[in-house]
Symmetry: C2
Subunit: 415 residues, 2 copies
């Protein structure tokens, strides 16, 4: 298996050298060809997917996981639409990030170039296969896709179609490759192929991400774990605070940018705590609170330290009253996963203090945590939301899939 | 030892939270105080250094390593001067990298913020202690310095002075801490303190860097290994080529941006190979060449594959004649460490092909490889030269010591 993964990575490197000098027009033509081919192969893709779904059912897989795995004609059409959207986005490759003429006359430009070979390790959703292939191609990168074994038939069918489409426009099929998912070790070999693979991005649950982060020798971008906080300041508009807490928590619970913890300044606790508890309970949310919250309502469950550290991804929220904005910031620095924090306040001083004091990928002032999203930010495509500090932080669009090179032009300059 | 390193990292995190909200004026005042304090403590620093040098001599350490370790009043004054230079540079923290108002009225800004806690693992030069402390402080980061045991007395003396200076201006001493070097495991604990340390930068030889890259669970920026190439194109001005080859190879051999390999297009080989071999030999360089080079001069040593992969850091160079620019690019993609490559050509097409075809941190057109340097690029301060693709590539100045956060301001926005 190691040999197989390394051979695939070598072929990907060869393809990446071609992609690095492929023009935007040719990449966009490939994306359109891929979209057309996916639509034309809808029946084959759905047949393969039916095989995956049947196998999952016979293993007794839970319903919401079956739902994630299942495709229909509408979802396949959405893959194609997504590829056309990526074709419409600007090409990050060749963008001049910085440039100047040095004192000695050397002309210096820092230019975006592709990363090279990117490995994506992901769980059951087959849409990641199509999305990741499109985003990597547009950014000039070859991709090695290692999905889950439960989606193996669907992923193989999609990849076959995409590879044929690449060949049809004169690009190397090996720009998009699948790594077999039937053997656990394939993911390990992928994340340890340092020198052959330039970057690994895990997409999935906290367990998958932790494994990749700990075992990979290839550089990793951590994505997606979100223990997000909403802090209601002493100077908050409490109606606005209520709306933002509810939206952050209940708009969609299974996503990384939903809120998992509520902090309330003591100055507004008497008025706000009973209101927010009632509203959350009415929305079906279980509140795990401190003594103040428990005093306000008997249905509030006692919160432990573990609650404050938990990303529930469900209709649960931890809740705590703080003595000051600084205590809120300290609490967040202690427990947050560094994804998104929100403050509700009408005080400019509080806003400044909070936005510079917390240490997360995104900070919302008077807005729901749910806005941390590549689509909402106008990036057009998103490969994930980075919660690490190196290279990319927050929603990752096409520019985040590139690195840079310094191009220096002289006329015989020596030192 | 693990406890000791983790405790230091926790204190550093607390200090980092203070530095994150410290103004530029206060950071610059601290740098000036540090510079003054280092100058005032010159005698103590030199006395400590004399102890290190004496111990190294009694262990029979080689002369050039003793030289790297040795300080004198001039070198100490240079530390102070370097700190004042860093004080004069713009503060990267707070820089708005990108900003817009979204369609829904949310105001979005991507703002530079400090990384947090940075670990630097380095070898014998005590100047790194002062440089790294200054660069980290200016970029708002707390630093954990793990130098070599051979410089332990010097480093401890410098750090004592810097910490006292920080306290004198009201900043936390723990913004700059030393990790004991007398136990090999301290470096390992530092590079595995994921969650406590945000970034590790190794500075030193290839062995140190490989160890850190392989063992670290904290994100790493690889620095400094340079197997740099000069390619003399069919359309090169051969006088210019000769000057660039000689400068790239011989200006300073022990540095990562010196050239280690020469590629010559066959069209100019007859004329150029004998000239360049003669000139290199006159400069004391041993040429390790292919058959064409050996045919030109009997003193040329036969090159092996290993030679093409070697960073000599000495008066040696590997040399090979290529059939085409594409063979040159392929050779470089195979053997380069991704630091710097140079092309000498008067052809615009060759220049474009080479700069987009190679995959290195810097590409020089008609200029010496020696120009890849933070000082030459006008960065003012440099923590190292990254040869990896993630986060920072090429010379790393102050902006590369930061990450970003998205600050989003609304007026009660929900989804």
């Amino acid at each position: 298996m190691e040999q197989l993964v390394h051979d695939a990575a070598r072929r990907a490197r060869t393809a990446a050298a071609v992609l690095a000098v492929t023009t935007r027009a040719d990449k966009d033509a490939a994306l359109e060809a891929m979209a057309d081919a996916v639509l034309a192969a809808t029946d084959e893709i759905l047949a393969a997917n039916a095989g995956d779904v049947e196998a999952a059912r016979s293993r007794g897989t839970e319903g919401h996981l079956i739902d994630r795995l299942s495709l229909d004609a509408g979802r396949v059409a959405a893959f194609a639409e997504g590829m056309r959207d990526v074709a419409g986005l600007p090409d990050p490759v060749g963008e001049v990030v910085r440039g100047s003429t040095l004192a000695n006359g050397l002309q210096m430009q820092q230019v975006r170039v592709p990363m090279g070979v990117i490995g994506i390790i992901y769980e059951a959703r087959p849409n990641v296969t199509a999305d990741a292939a499109a985003i990597c191609l547009k950014s000039g990168n070859a991709v090695l896709l290692r999905g889950s074994s439960s989606a193996a038939r669907s992923n193989a069918a999609i990849i076959d179609v995409l590879r044929a489409a690449l060949v049809s426009v004169g690009l190397p099929a090996d720009a998009v490759q699948i790594i077999p998912a039937d053997d656990r070790s394939s993911a390990e070999h992928l994340m340890r192929a340092r020198g052959l693979v330039d970057l690994v991005i895990p997409r999935g649950g906290a367990g998958l991400i932790r494994t990749v982060v700990e075992q990979s020798t290839v550089p990793v971008i951590e994505t997606g774990v979100g223990n997000c906080h909403v802090y209601v300041d002493a100077d908050a508009d409490l109606d606005m605070a209520l709306a933002i807490v509810l939206n952050s928590k209940t708009h969609r619970t299974s996503v990384c940018n939903s809120a998992e913890s509520l902090l309330v300044h003591k100055a507004v606790a008497d008025e706000f705590v009973p209101r927010v508890v009632a509203a959350l309970q009415e929305a079906g949310v279980t509140v795990h609170g401190d003594e103040v919250f428990r005093a306000a309502d008997r249905a509030v469950v006692a919160a432990t330290e573990d609650d404050y550290a938990t990303e529930y991804l469900s209709l649960d929220i931890s809740a705590h009253v703080v003595e000051s904005i600084d205590e809120a910031i300290a609490h967040i620095r202690q427990f947050s996963s560094g994804h998104t924090e929100a403050i509700v306040t009408s005080s400019l001083a509080s806003s400044r203090r909070f936005t510079t004091g917390v240490d997360s990928a995104a900070v919302m002032v008077n807005a729901s945590t749910r806005f941390t999203d590549g689509g909402e930010f106008g990036f057009g495509a998103e490969i994930g939301i980075s919660t690490q500090k190196l290279h990319a932080r927050g929603p990752m669009g096409l520019p985040e899939m590139t690195t840079t090179t310094y191009v220096i032009v002289g006329s015989g300059h020596v030192r």
